[in-house]
Assembly symmetry: C2
Homo-oligomer: 324 residues x 2
């Protein structure tokens, strides 16, 4: 019976072609700002991506090839994010063929000048301005709150209304509850459903009930969704695995590490507690060097203790979020 299914499967596959797109969110942090590698085309940005081809031995190797040919950037750390496959959302309407897109997250040490004409490092908060709480609450959240309020108010049933209220509360929080940096995708999806991002209008599925869309640059196809997934994953992961070090140079002062984490998480952390965590877990070791580039008292230069990767004791560090 199994065998029968299989062969039915083969036939179908031939009749209805499926193509698979590999997309990469390539992240670096430069001058304390989180950057993502974008392909600029006709006034809309895209992620580096390309179709899976027969000669690619693995999905990941196919991805590496595409990124390198499109951006000249060689990838180090790579991790699969998610496979998107809603028909009607992931492709630029018109075609009938199904396109799956498999999103990947890649981390590279420093943003070197992009190697090709239309590949460029861009601050990721350009696409998600409401996600950057490093200096206080972004003012754009007032507009978002207004738009979402409208959306909640226009729910078809009271039950739906309640559900919408709850979703807004959970993702964007309230004036009282502290900001949660992780549900980046949930927030974007909410804006999409409420028609508050241009992509929703473009896909022709959700119109804005508020009559406006929210600032934040859109991207090609579902690329902004993939980017949101990447940011969310990274924000979660830095808290329990020492992945930040993939973004750091060989040696660095502790404050640089802190600023990098803050850039990713979009929140400030408490300096003394941050160092205690980092040092307490033996994540770094002294190099003996110092730097005066930071101004003020010279800072020790440390380096990642890569042995921790082999020790298995790596809990990663949770963020000692600074209240004020």
């Amino acid at each position: 019976m199994r065998a029968v299914q299989r062969s039915a499967h083969e036939e179908k596959a031939v009749q209805h072609a499926i193509s698979v797109d590999l997309s990469a969110v390539v992240v670096a942090v430069t001058k304390d700002e989180p950057k993502v590698l974008a392909i600029r085309n006709n006034d809309i940005d895209a992620l580096p991506s390309g179709p899976l081809e027969p000669q690619h031995r693995t999905l990941e190797s196919g991805l590496r090839v595409w990124v390198e040919t499109q951006t000249r950037q060689v990838l180090g750390y790579v991790e699969q994010l998610y496979t998107f496959g809603d028909s009607g959302r992931s492709l630029a309407a018109g075609t009938n063929a199904r396109v799956l897109s498999i999103g990947y997250l890649a981390l590279v040490p420093e943003a070197q000048p992009a190697g090709t004409a239309n590949a460029e490092w861009r601050n990721w908060y350009r696409y998600f301005p409401w996600e950057d709480w490093r200096d206080d609450r972004p003012p754009i959240l007032d507009r978002i709150a207004a738009g979402l309020k409208e959306w909640c108010a226009t729910a078809p049933t009271p039950a739906q209304r309640k559900l919408r209220d709850a979703r807004v509360r959970m993702t964007f929080g309230t004036r009282k509850t502290p900001w949660n940096d992780e549900p980046v995708l949930e927030r974007y999806e909410l804006l999409y459903e409420a028609g508050l991002v241009p992509e929703a209008q473009r896909d022709g599925r959700h119109a804005s009930v508020a009559g406006f869309v929210v600032e934040g640059e859109p991207m090609l196809a579902d690329h902004r969704r993939i980017l949101a997934t990447a940011i969310a994953r990274l924000r979660g992961k830095i808290k329990y695995r020492p992945v930040v070090f993939e973004l750091m140079p060989e040696t660095f002062p502790l404050l640089h590490l802190q600023r990098t984490v803050e850039a990713l998480a979009g929140v400030r952390v408490h300096k003394p507690n941050f160092r205690r965590l980092v040092e307490g877990q033996g994540l770094v070791e002294d190099t003996g060097g110092v730097t005066t580039e930071t101004g003020g008292r010279p800072a020790r230069l440390v380096r990642f203790r890569s042995e921790v990767l082999l020790e298995g004791t790596t809990t990663g560090f949770r963020l000692p979020v600074a209240r004020k």
Copy 2:
């Protein structure tokens, strides 16, 4: 330029068909044992699965249809796990077509008797006997340790040797370090690379240097790998999201909840501390009812407070692992 890539893509997709398999790990916990829904065929088990077809609107809906037709089981909670695509590992050798397999995790409240002849609920520790530490350390780990020791010893270079030692230490731990329940996939992959599971031999890639394979039932294609991914994901997730309740009946005594968590995690937890966590977070509420079915003093029956899903405060509970 983007457009050019696209159309090249379309052509290729037609020439080299890609087919996509949707596979589900459907989990239930019955009588304190973790069960997975398996399709039994020719002496080898498989996960419910089937190809993605054009009429499936989303990947997830395609999956639901396949599981229901193959097993009569209706799915509730469903979550995407990972997309596997190594050519040569995921398909029963011979065919040249590329097959991607997208794995899903599904949770259902109770293992009802399977609805079709060859669908059956099976204890997942049948496939991973070394993962069940509820009564002490599984004896099979001695054999595994021996096999892996051999594998480490036969590393081509001293550097590789060191790396292999470290991987074994990190995944299976040592006599001293406490067992870590989460790296289920890493452990399986290690056994695969060392040729200690039948799948490795079958794929013709890694022969056992130890001259034997380890107990634990193999599965069709890469299904055991998908199962390992599912167990790992679930073990991680129960610690920070209240997903266990998807597996529970409407009302239950707290010990039942504890036993369910233990079944999934494969370790025992400290009873008083477990209740403190669960109650302290307001995850459950009293029903007023009691049950005497547990023997001894009658137990309060509680129910999941589903409001917590709308509160956003859900940290989930970490496991208060019982030392002894």
